[in-house]
């Protein structure tokens, strides 16, 4: 069987080879040749490199080696310590056995002395002599170590050479010069064949039995006494005998090897999110609703970090992530937040741009109103007839305020609440006031001069009750405003009549400063000041449209224009009550009753006044009764069917500029003359007004307006102020008023007749 041998190289061993035909040293040769090498654990290449094709000759059992190489061993000092063979074995007989022994022999871990001893001992390989037994015993020891080594080297995967190729010390340095001579390049790539064969039976102990015939003299002795009996006794006593102890033995433990593995540290990141109700709703809505749930992975989903309110519709957005002390560490997946990062790349624009947003102006408005509400709260509450609660935080001064509040004056009185005033309107004459039909808190005030002198540009301000310090809308007109009216159908339209005869319609909803329609270019416009404009709901509008509103204006040039028809009359003022009949007051003091159907003629004339009629007003509660006031210091009460006044009221020697019926009480009306405001209650007295309020010094009162929802009166004066007064303690019931008025009229008439 071909046997491969491996070469062992020792650091301090100088191994030389010489070729001698000495057969007797073949065993030695074999030993040295078969000595193993540095450990080659995983690489078969190593093994190959160490196999010596040149040296390993096929060793037959009976073959005679012609080329034998003698191995000489030198130690460090160069002394020849080649072990001399003690015993020259028979040629060929034991050689294969020896070689086999030593191919299996793994001297790893063995020292030089061991090697020498084994080399020494193998020369005496012989089965017969006890010396050889010790050799084999020692070799078996080393072989057992080898087997352990082999067991350690299980990872050797070469299937053909598992047992033969053995491993040796790793600290063995190799003197390669000799080896390099023998190892050729091509030999390294040669395949190594290893064969495993069964070794000869190795006798460890051989004690031939000695037999004695039964017939001999010694038989008796041997049988009864002697060692046999003793042995049998021993066997019997073996069980449970103290002499015999069980003793475990420890087997060899494999040497453990520690292997360390280190991986990258796993970084942990905490993520938290707060799923609030609105957050879920926002995500749902932004994803397009239930139908588009699949498209939820919108492309705008960017990295999610801080919970933040960001509005990204403005093109001037800036990075919003930083927001300082307010950002929390929770995350949100709503689109609003992700949009914040869409605009990160845009320019950092002026942070003040936020001020110019619409929303900001709106918020400012609301804020101003809130601030003012705090200031004017008691007044507004009085206006709206809410109970005024004392401020709980206000310290109660000892009894003074309380007394003032408890002092209930039984007399009807006016309480001044506040005034609409701002520096824009300062010095302007309030010419007209009108409530918005839809929003009872909105008041339009026209500023303009009545007289021909001192004509300034006119102004129309729309005030809100919620803000008495600044009007909501300001419209500048070219000439003084003399007439105002809000439309009913489209409540945001405000018709303004001006001193130069032009009429403009403004839309108060928008903040534009220019009128929607202007009649300046109209060919048939008025040439004199427009004294009154009125929107009329016309059931029978031209073209058959229903409920259309037309604008009718009266001007000093003698025309009542409906913007379709004219009237050639010298008119001053008029008021329409029902759609067909209307009254017109003139500068001469005549009041004409006219009808829409008759364009050229009037139906009747009421004569009483001497001076120009300034205002005619129907009673809102009594359909037949109307009042007229004029510059002749008088107020006349008329009934429609009588062409003479029923009652006349005079209080002062001043021209009465404005009168108005109270919307709530049929017997109450207010009048404004130059110096004062008068409230008349016909139920109490027909001779004197019940309440008189003096104007501020230097200011003339010019217009009057009753508040529709509450019992307040607005008075405009020539100083540009519109003061709001609350009527207190007016002891006029509501239901009986009409009857009272009729009674008064009847009684008066009766007395006259």
């Amino acid at each position: 069987m071909p046997v491969r041998t491996a070469k062992q190289m020792k650091p301090t061993l100088k191994v030389t080879k010489s070729r001698t035909p000495n057969q007797s040293t073949s065993g030695v040769l074999r030993v040295n040749q078969s000595a193993t090498n540095t450990r080659s654990v995983n690489s078969s290449v190593h093994r190959k490199s160490f196999t010596l094709a040149g040296d390993s000759k096929v060793l037959d059992k009976g073959s005679v080696q012609t080329h034998k190489q003698t191995v000489q061993v030198f130690d460090e000092t160069g002394k020849d310590v080649t072990p001399q063979p003690l015993y020259q074995p028979e040629a060929g007989a034991l050689q294969p056995k020896q070689s086999k022994i030593f191919t299996n022999h793994d001297t790893s871990g063995s020292t030089l002395s061991d090697f020498l001893s084994t080399a020494y001992q193998t020369t005496n390989a012989s089965f017969a002599a006890p010396f050889t037994r010790s050799v084999f015993g020692s070799s078996s020891v080393s072989r057992s170590s080898q087997s352990t080594m082999e067991s350690m080297n299980d990872e050797i995967e070469d299937p053909s050479s598992k047992k033969d190729i053995s491993l040796s010390l790793s600290d063995v340095q190799v003197r390669r010069e000799e080896i390099k001579e023998q190892i050729k390049e091509h030999m390294l790539d040669c395949m190594v064949d290893c064969y495993l064969t069964e070794t000869e039976t190795i006798w460890l102990l051989d004690m031939p039995a000695l037999s004695v015939s039964m017939d001999s003299e010694e038989a008796e002795v041997v049988k009864s006494e002697g060692r046999n009996m003793a042995y049998q006794e021993l066997c019997k006593n073996r069980l449970g005998n103290d002499k015999y102890m069980e003793r475990p033995m420890q087997t060899f433990n494999g040497a453990p090897k520690a292997k360390e593995v280190q991986s990258d540290s796993i970084s942990m990141v905490e993520k938290a999110t707060m799923a609030t109700h609105w957050d879920i709703y926002d995500s749902y809505v932004s994803d397009g609703g239930a139908g588009n749930a699949a498209d939820g992975a919108s492309p705008t989903k960017l990295d999610i970090s801080t919970l933040h309110r960001v509005h990204s519709s403005r093109p001037l957005d800036r990075t919003m992530s930083g927001a300082s002390a307010i950002s929390t560490a929770s995350t949100s997946s709503s689109r609003i937040d992700t949009e914040a990062f869409v605009v990160q790349g845009e320019n950092e624009s002026d942070p003040e741009d936020v001020l110019h947003s619409e929303k900001f102006l709106q918020d400012l408005l609301v804020m101003e109103r809130a601030v003012l509400e705090n200031i004017y709260q008691p007044k507004l509450a009085a206006y709206r007839q809410l109970p005024i609660l004392p401020d709980p935080n206000r310290e109660q001064k000892a009894g003074d305020e309380r007394d003032g509040q408890d002092d209930v004056s039984l007399n009807p009185a006016l309480e001044r609440l506040w005034a609409f005033n701002c520096e824009l309107t300062m010095g302007r004459n309030v010419s007209n006031m009108a409530w918005n039909k839809k929003n009872p808190d909105l008041l339009a005030v026209g500023y303009g001069q009545f007289d021909f002198k001192d004509q300034k540009s006119g102004l129309v301000c729309c005030w809100s009750l919620k803000n008495p310090t600044w009007p909501e809308r300001i419209f500048h007109c070219e000439s003084g405003v003399t007439a105002l009216d809000f439309s009913t159908c489209s409540p945001s339209q405000l018709a303004v009549g001006m001193h130069d005869g032009s009429i403009a319609i403004y839309n108060v909803q928008s903040t534009e400063k220019t009128p929607v329609i202007d009649s300046s270019d109209c060919a048939h416009k008025h040439t004199g000041p427009v004294w009154q404009v009125r929107w009329v709901e016309n059931e029978h509008g031209p073209g058959g449209e229903d409920k259309r509103e037309t604008l009718i204006s009266v001007s000093a040039d003698g025309r009542i224009s409906k913007w379709f028809l004219r009237k050639g009359l010298d008119v001053k003022e008029r008021k329409i009550e029902d759609s067909n009949i209307y009254l017109v007051g003139t500068e001469d003091g005549l009041i004409h009753k006219c009808s829409c159907s008759y364009n050229e003629q009037f139906l009747g004339t009421y004569t009483a006044h001497i001076g120009p009629v300034y205002k005619i007003t129907w009673s809102p509660l009594c359909p037949d009764v109307f009042l007229s006031c004029s510059a002749d210091w008088t107020i006349q009460l008329w009934r429609q069917d009588l062409f003479t006044p029923i009652l006349g009221f005079t209080s002062t020697h001043k021209a009465v500029h404005d009168i108005e019926w109270s919307p709530r009480w049929a017997t109450v009306f207010g009048a404004v003359n130059e110096g004062r405001l008068e409230i008349w209650d016909l139920g109490s007295s027909i001779l004197d007004p019940i309440i008189v309020s003096m104007a501020r010094p230097g200011v003339k009162l010019t217009s009057l307006l009753f508040a529709t929802q509450t019992d307040c009166v607005l008075v405009g004066d020539s100083g540009g102020q519109v003061s709001v007064y609350k009527l207190k303690n007016l002891n006029a019931g509501e239901g009986k008023e009409v009857n009272t008025l009729h009674d008064i009229i009847r009684s008066t008439l009766a007395s006259q007749l």
Partner: protein, 94 residues
């Protein structure tokens, strides 16, 4: 228009201070000193967020428009928005 309105608000009776802060917490307009402004802005922003969260939790289609805090001494009014915070402090009983 904007500046006049702001000036008017500031000139009303009892108004102690007006602050406009942008979404990053930087005061744009203020009539108070810097430390007070920053303090108000930071605290009110948190409160506004909480208030808005409350309102929307109850009804997600709703949203907070105005917030008023009345205390013993002052009233703080906040008009919140996504881009800014408008704060006015007023002493209403003056």
């Amino acid at each position: 228009m904007l500046e006049e309105t702001l000036k008017r608000i500031q000139a009303h009776k009892g108004v102690i201070g007006t602050i406009v802060v942008n979404a990053e917490g930087i005061p744009i307009r203020t009539t108070l000193d810097s430390s007070t402004t920053v303090q108000y802005a930071g605290l009110l922003h948190q409160l506004t967020m909480k208030a808005r969260s409350t309102v929307r939790d109850i009804d997600p289609q709703n949203d907070l428009t105005f917030l008023r805090i009345r205390s013993k001494k002052h009233e703080i009014m906040v008009a919140p928005d996504k881009e800014y915070l408008l704060i006015v402090i007023q002493n209403p009983s003056e």
